[in-house]
Each structure stands twice: as structure tokens, then as C-alpha cells.
Symmetry: C2
Subunit: 468 residues, 2 copies
């Protein structure tokens, strides 16, 4: 599938740089096509754009040495975690050295009393939770993919638990960062709060590798809840489902997750999983707390749901029953893919104030139907964030154009509703113009001033987030 990507700025790796990197990294450097291909694509629908070489970093010093060499030669560097980004973040649009951080996968320190953990960037979220399980603590951010913590920080990821626990913005305490000059800085401490100077931590979180490369992350972690329960119910229409969510949030019920699944996705799931769910909009809830606490939350939510015409409210506290209820959510993506053979899914991402969510969903739905795009919608609705999965034929430009048109109108709609063009996937290559549309030229100019100041040679993941 092809999107227009500017390639006129592609640089060639200078031979002396390659030689210097080979001298420094030996067998940890690869220029094989297979390796470059693997590092030149993500989970977006962009065709791959290969880096010139790949190195496997084992330490902050490795990263600093590689970046310093590339800076000397004014050659791009692109940090690579697990390759699960969704907007073309890691494509080597101007050529470059891919710095693979997946072997920097050590949990450096666990401080249970302080509810903090410090990890190398290649640690994945599932690995982290497996390693800290015995402490009775957990890291809640769950973007779906088993992404690396470094990548999650770099894209300001969030996901299903964000309604209660926040996003990477709220959960990163401090970073070690390699600057464009190859210097190593630490952006914070392990103190839970601080008013000490400019918030460099938050500046690098979400900067998508364009301002520095994250080589260590200190995170907040949380006590595993004493009790977890789940609930599921269907609604006659999207408006009723969203209004139930608004009321839940506004009453201060501390739901851990509240996910929306549209009737198309439910239909796909019934087929895929041989279920008999009502083919109506569905909400899935998860509650964390004490035994009486989760019971109380579920009771309140049930009452709110009933007031909004809920059908078939079910709730469950046993792990196996919870899994059954949530199975629908977990399988939604795969079930959808079955709807149209040979197709790829284009995933969208926008986020609006929750009071506008029903309107935004309904207008988007009408547009999808008008354009006859096969689709499903899932949403982290407690945050006003939703994703449309559009199934397109990768070989049919008209089909792709229709989907892109829907996406463009949806983003424009979200921005007009005081929302954002991306709730959690980031800008990457795909949303550079949407960022301008959202913020205005002067705001993007301020971002550009920061980019120019911190990376004057434009070597850090060039061509992403904004135009030079």
C-alpha cells in the first residue's frame, strides 16, 4: 500500500561512518537486506523504507557512541523497539542507522516501597509485569501490542487502562536520554513530584525519537488490586452507550477500563467466536479495588446502564469468567479482519471531549456507511478515544483513497470538537499535516524551534512529527 512519502531528502550513509560503526559494533552491526527490511516497517499500512544499517545496542554508552558518530556525519538515526508503531514512525524516509534497543531488556531496579521501577528501553510491558509479579505490584499501561517501554514512552502510549491509571505522560517519572550530540542526560529523579526546572521528561515522552533517544525509563507502578471484576452489556444505540459512560465518569466511579465495541465488530465476533451477543453497541467494564469496592462500582454502573436501556448486563469476578467477557474485546481486531478476505486494516485514532463523543462516533459511522467502507469501531470511551478499523484492498488505490477520506474527515471533525488528531498512536509520518491543522502554524513553529535547537543537524528520526 502506498502513501506519498517525500524521499528527496534521502541521505546516503558515508563509507567512513559505516567503517567507524563496524569498528565499534563488529557483529552487532548488520547491513543484510533481511535485517534492514525487518527494521524498515511498522504496523502501519506504509510500505517499508529500509535503513542503511542496523546496530544492536547493549548500553546507553553504545547508543551515545552511535549517535555521536552519526551526528559527526550528519546522518539519520532511528530508534527501534518492537516495531509495533502505527503511523510509520520508524520508516527510514531519509535513510539512516536503525538502533535496535530490544537487547537492552533488563529491569534495572524495582523499588516496591516507592512504587517505582527502572527499566532499559527494550523491556516489554508483558515482560515487566512478569518480572515484578511477585512484588504484588503491576504496570497498568496496556496499548494492546506487547510494545517496548522505550517505544511506549516515545509515542506517549496509553490504551485500555488509561481512564484510571493515566497514560505514559502521567506514569514516566524520569528518563535517561541520549541527545543529538551523543551526550547522556537524566531528566528527573525518583521523587513522585518535582518543581525543579523545565519538564524535560514530558518533553521527551511523545517526541517519537526526534529530540533524543530514550535509554532508561523510571516508571510508576501500582498495587495489584485486591479484587477485579468485569461487566458487559449491550445498548440500543451508540448514544445510550456513550451517555452511560459519561454518567459513570461524572459520578467519579473509578472504573479501570471501559471499552466500546460497535455492532459491526460484535457481528464479526459472533461469527468468529461463535457467540450470540446482541448485535448492538457493547460496553465492557473492568473494576479494580477491594472486594466491597468492586461490588459497589458494579452496582452503580449497572444502575446507570439500566437507566440507559442496557440489555443483558452480566458481571463476573472469577478470572475465567472475566476472560470470557473480555474475549470479545481481545478478538475484535482479528474477527474484523475475517470480514473481508485479502484485506488489510487501516487503524485510525482520535480523541474528543467525552461530551462530543456520541456525535463524533455517529457522524463518522454515517460517513463510513455512505462510503461503504467495511469497518469496526472500538473505543477507550472513558477517555473519549476511539479507533475505526477500516478494511481496505491494499491493491486498490480507490479503496484506499475512500478510507483515507473518511479518516481525514474524522480527524477534522474531532479537531472541530476541541479534540485531538491522535489520542495515543502519535504523529509519525501520517499525521504531520493533521498536527498543523490541530495546533495551528504558530504552535507547530514553537515545536520546530525546539527541534532545531536540540537537533540542529536533523539526524534524529528526521521527517517525523513535523517538517524541518
Amino acid at each position: 500500500m502506498n502513501h506519498p512519502v517525500p524521499t528527496s531528502l534521502r541521505r546516503e550513509m558515508p563509507a567512513p561512518l559505516l567503517a567507524a560503526l563496524q569498528a565499534r559494533f563488529g557483529e552487532r552491526l548488520s547491513t543484510s537486506h533481511a535485517m534492514r527490511e525487518h527494521h524498515g516497517r511498522d504496523e502501519s499500512s506504509y510500505d517499508s523504507m529500509l535503513p542503511d544499517a542496523v546496530i544492536f545496542a547493549h548500553s546507553t554508552e553504545d547508543v551515545a557512541a552511535a549517535v555521536a558518530l552519526c551526528n559527526e556525519h550528519r546522518f539519520p538515526v532511528i530508534a527501534y523497539g518492537t516495531g509495533t508503531s502505527l503511523e510509520g514512525h520508524i520508516l527510514a524516509v531519509q535513510g539512516g542507522l536503525s538502533i535496535d534497543l530490544s537487547q537492552m531488556n533488563r529491569v534495572v531496579a524495582v523499588n516496591p516501597e516507592d512504587l517505582t521501577v527502572t527499566v532499559q528501553p527494550g523491556v516489554t510491558r508483558k515482560q515487566l509485569n512478569a518480572e515484578i509479579k511477585d512484588t504484588g505490584l503491576f504496570f497498568p499501561i496496556d496499548p494492546g501490542a506487547d510494545a517496548s517501554i522505550g517505544g511506549m514512552a516515545a509515542t506517549r502510549a496509553s490504551g485500555t487502562n488509561a481512564v484510571r491509571y493515566g497514560t505514559m505522560r502521567e506514569n514516566v517519572l524520569a528518563l535517561t536520554v541520549v541527545t543529538a550530540q551523543g551526550k547522556v542526560i537524566r531528566t528527573g529523579t525518583r521523587a513522585k513530584k518535582s518543581s525543579a526546572g523545565y519538564d524535560l521528561t514530558r518533553l521527551f515522552v511523545g517526541s517519537e525519537g526526534t529530540l533524543g533517544i530514550i535509554t532508561e525509563v523510571t516508571l510508576k507502578i501500582y498495587p495489584q488490586p485486591e479484587a477485579i471484576s468485569a461487566a458487559v452489556c449491550s445498548f440500543p444505540d451508540i448514544g445510550s452507550a456513550v451517555n452511560a459512560v459519561i454518567q459513570t465518569i461524572q459520578m467519579g466511579v473509578p472504573v479501570a477500563r471501559v471499552e466500546f465495541v460497535d455492532e459491526n465488530s460484535v457481528r464479526a465476533l459472533n461469527k468468529y467466536d461463535k457467540l450470540t451477543l446482541p448485535e448492538k453497541p457493547l460496553l465492557l467494564f473492568e473494576f479494580h479495588g477491594s472486594e466491597p469496592g468492586v461490588q459497589e462500582q458494579a452496582d452503580i454502573v449497572r444502575q446507570i446502564a439500566d437507566e440507559h436501556g442496557a440489555i443483558g448486563f452480566e458481571w463476573a469476578t472469577r478470572p475465567e469468567d472475566r476472560s470470557r467477557l473480555w474475549q470479545a474485546r481481545h478478538n475484535a481486531y482479528f474477527a474484523l479482519l475475517q470480514l473481508r478476505a485479502g484485506c488489510r486494516a487501516i487503524s485510525t485514532d482520535c480523541c474528543v471531549p467525552i461530551s462530543r463523543l456520541a456525535e463524533c462516533l455517529l457522524e463518522t459511522k454515517a460517513d463510513l456507511e455512505r462510503e461503504q467502507v467495511v469497518h469496526g469501531i472500538i473505543g477507550h470511551v472513558g477517555d473519549g478515544n476511539f479507533h475505526v478499523q477500516m478494511l481496505v484492498d491494499p491493491n486498490d488505490p480507490a479503496d484506499i483513497a475512500r478510507a483515507e477520506g473518511v479518516n481525514e474527515r474524522m480527524v477534522t471533525r474531532a479537531i472541530a470538537m476541541q479534540g485531538t488528531c491522535t489520542g495515543e498512536h502519535g504523529i509519525g509520518l501520517h499525521k504531520i499535516d493533521f498536527l498543523v491543522q490541530e495546533c495551528g502554524e504558530d504552535t507547530v513553529d514553537t515545536m520546530r524551534t525546539l527541534k532545531h535547537a536540540l537537533d540542529p543537524n536533523n539526524i534524529l528520526n528526521p521527517g517525523k512529527v513535523l517538517r524541518w
Copy 2:
């Protein structure tokens, strides 16, 4: 009281600038000594340093016009809210125009369904809560003083409720900012989360007026809890009190407030308020939630407190009883001031990982006693943040030096424990060197790069946060 402040960089206001400002602002510009004096001091122990003139802004356009004029003449501008900063933030060390934002005090929009509110920077936190009371929502950040929201954002303020609701870092959604060039930018939307580009909101939050002037703030607000209860108990020693807090936090009890008051402050309070509290370290808790929820929290905390040797656990749900319990906390500062006639209080501020809090408190206490500094300690201990109030004779340099020595050793200790030199008061004038000590030269250099890029003429509150 005098601290060394560099004044060699003091600039004079050019006559054409004054004329242009007079033409633009008319009677809203003042050069009277009384007005300049009022705008040249904060609540720190610094002597006042007067701005050359004061204007009262009524709109973002006013601020933009004033900043653009000052930038043209390379002359400093200092934003002024309520003057309640604590580290010399608003002193005109290089001369300057004080832009008083207190008349920009309108609540611009309340969006109860979205739990957001947008205010002008001069709105104070008490005013905001009075104006939104009828919506059933509230803004929780409480730094003690009735500070302006703009000032609270600029210093990344927090206070007693932060343990549950976070700080200004977590609660500002978006800002309107006037840049050094007099441009107006918007840094975010009303969406609850976003991955759209660099996090300019967090960059300006805590930048103390040195990167831009905040002229509008969009905040998160919260449902007023259905029930509030309070508890108070004494402990045999500091270690027991802190360990009770650690266990409370680690068990995930969502306490809204947990405040520590040391035995000196309790002694002062007994005298001041004619109370008979045990002259031991004291903890005060506040719980927010449903009726059964706050009961459950209080039960758990009582059990934890008992395990740590608590004395006289009392709890209260009626507002008048809660006020009685919290009276001790509210009066601590004034009670302390009575301990030594004719003295001023120097307030300190550091924050450490909670596992190191007892150690940090005890070592600081020993130092205070060794140096015979009259003092009291209060702490937002759920966050590892505490303040020592030291009573010094403003006319005795040796006395001041002793207190500053204790502060310096305390900050050094906090940094060595992976903590920060300021939990919530900011850097201002007083902690510029501590910031370097905490972060290292390379990190402060990165901050300086941002300052140079955004404010190349060094007109925005120059001489604060870092050296040019």
C-alpha cells in the same frame, strides 16, 4: 533579609518603550513606588527588587502587545499573579515590566460533562471552586495560599491533595501562552489525552514565566466526593508515622490527603490553640469516596496505624468535626511563628522517594537540633514531600547563615536519596545552583538550549531557573 542576588545585569527601561506602553495602556500602567514595591516582592525572605513599571492586563492581546514591545526593546517582562511564590520568582533582578494578570480573572468556560474548566490566569483557586460549586465538581489542587491558577501552573504547584489528584503537571490540559516574540499559541485541546506532537503544555507548566506567559488555562476538575472523612493520630516517633504512610500507599488506599506534623509544631499548636494533643509526630488523613468507601479506607488506615503504635486515633465525618481535626494542620504555620517573637520563617521544600523519607526527616531533624534552629516540620508525606519552617532573626546574618546551611545540607541529602531539591515551590532565584546539583550540567544545558531558542533576547523573567 539579604541573599546575594546578581544585579549587574540590571537593565534600564528605555524611554521610548515606556512611552509606547503608556500609549497602549494609559491608566492601566503605573510607575508609582508603592505599586512597584507591591510587585517587587513575594513571600520568600528576599528583599524586594522593584520592576520599573506595572501594567494591568485585561486580555491575551494586552499581554501579547506588552511582550512584543518589550522584546523589541530587549527589556524584561515578569508575569505577576498573587505574589505568593516562595523562592523569589517575581523579583525584578534585571529590572523589568511587571505584567499583573490579577484582573484577568474570568472563568471562561465550564464543561461539567467533560470534567474540564477553562480560566483566565488571574482566577484564584478559591474563586474557581466558589464559581463551579453548583456543578457538583471541584478543583482539588491546594497549595495553601489562595494562589492564581496561572501562577500555580507556572510553578507546577501541588499541595495537600496531590497524593490522590496529582499536581498541576497532571491537571493542566492545555494553555494559551504568549511567546517571547508576542505570538499567541495554544498548547493543547480539551481531549483528555493526546499523542499529538511535543508536550508544550508540560513544558510551560513549571517554567516560571521564563519561556512564555500563560494567559489561559484549561484544567481537569473532579466530582465532589459523596462523602469525606478525616482522621488524626499520633505516633511514638517519626519512623513509625512514615512507615504507616508507606504501608497505606503501598496497599493502594486512595487517601486524598495525608499530612505529617512534627512534635515541635504540635507543641506550638497546643500553646496557640490551647489544645492537649500528645506532643509527638502526628498524621492527619482525609478520605474521599462513597459512604462505605471512606469507612473502609478509615478502617484500613486505623489498622495500619495501630500496627505502628498509633496513639489516640480519632476520626470524623461531620464537616465541623473534620474542621476541628484539621485545625491543627491549618494553624501550624501561625502557631510556629509565635515561638520566637520578631522572627521570620524560612520555608524549605524537598521531596524524596517515600522509602527514604524517615531517614531524610531524621537526619534533617538532627541537623536542626545540632544547629539550634527553632523549627517545625510539616509534610505532604504521601508524596515524600516536606517543608521545614525555620524561624530566623532577619537582622542576624549568623542566624540566617545557620538556617541556609541546614537547608543546603537538607537539599544535598534529598538529592543523594534520588529526590529533588523542590517538590512544589520551584527554583526561582534561590535554587538555581541546587538545580545544577540535582540534574547535572548537561541536563541544565539542555534546559538552557530551550531557553535560548524560545527567548533569544532573554526578556522572559530573566535570572530565574537557570543562568543565561
